[in-house]
Symmetry: C2
Subunit: 143 residues, 2 copies
DNA sequence: TATTACCCTACTTGTTTGGTAGGATATTGT
DNA sequence: ACAATATCCTACCAAACAAGTAGGGTAATA
């Protein structure tokens, strides 16, 4: 299997909720966990990770919580995937952010490399353009 | 991580070798393992799996070995990925061959679903068209 | 200064991945 | 026939990872 991890799916569910609450002040972790049915402590880890990566910001103490840092249209789906799920490419040797040379393979003359490079480009062409805004419940259309 | 597994990469390396030897009779597992630097017993499992899936065929006894069943242009890269690596889609709820309903998510009104559906289509558009033939060492061009 | 709520480290449990071991079975040359 | 060859099959093992839990530390605020 190589799908998005459970963690990544939780992250997107939480982010969707936060998009819906954008500009309405901090949202409690416990609130998100309850509404989106995500294990509380696990969600804590995920949100913290997204904060460290610069997607979210938080406020401590009473009246605190998490909220999306910039306008939802500023954060791409690709960025989120990379943070909570890792590489987007199907091979290390075609990854832009997680590149690793492949063992026993001449990249200049490797058919698989070429195919996977095309897949990467096609995928990124979508994931880099789509943003958190596209995940919101009330969105109009995806064009 | 959600890249192709080590196993899948081994599979493609082995298949590349078999494409190069197409129509030259059965090839020994030990030959492939040696030339492509793949652990012998592990490779046995992989080739067997590809045989059961109908990609390869084999001959036992002296002069035996593995060989590609149909013409290399008949087997898509997508088919191989599904056999040795599983789903191609990033979410179960957009998978064609490994579909599963997603928990707590209305597919009809889910932004992430729509995005991942597009990614799936873009990916399959490439992986279904590319074949084992494209992996061969001596190929001319990828057009 | 007590309460709230995020922050942080560490741990546990179950599953998957990447192999290995050893023999059973089928084929073929002599 | 029979020995050699080479695939086929079942089971096992260790390390890595995923998913989730525990428990307290720290900062803000009323």
């Amino acid at each position: 299997m190589s799908m998005l991890s459970n963690k990544a799916q939780y992250a997107f569910r939480a982010l969707t909720y936060l998009v819906d609450k954008y500009n309405q002040g901090p949202v409690l972790i416990s609130d998100i966990a309850k509404k989106k049915k995500i294990p509380l402590k696990f969600l804590e880890n995920i949100l913290l990770e997204l904060k460290k990566a610069g997607i979210l910001d938080s406020k401590k103490g009473k009246g605190g919580g998490y909220y999306i840092k910039e306008h939802p249209s500023k954060t791409s789906v690709a960025a989120v995937v990379r943070i909570v799920n890792g590489p987007i490419s199907m091979l290390p040797c075609v990854s832009l952010y997680f590149y690793e040379r492949c063992a026993n393979c001449d990249e200049k003359n490797c058919g698989l490399h070429d195919v996977m490079e095309q897949v990467r480009d096609a995928t990124l062409n979508i994931l880099e353009k789509r943003t958190l805004e596209d995940l919101a419940s009330g969105r109009e259309s995806l064009g």
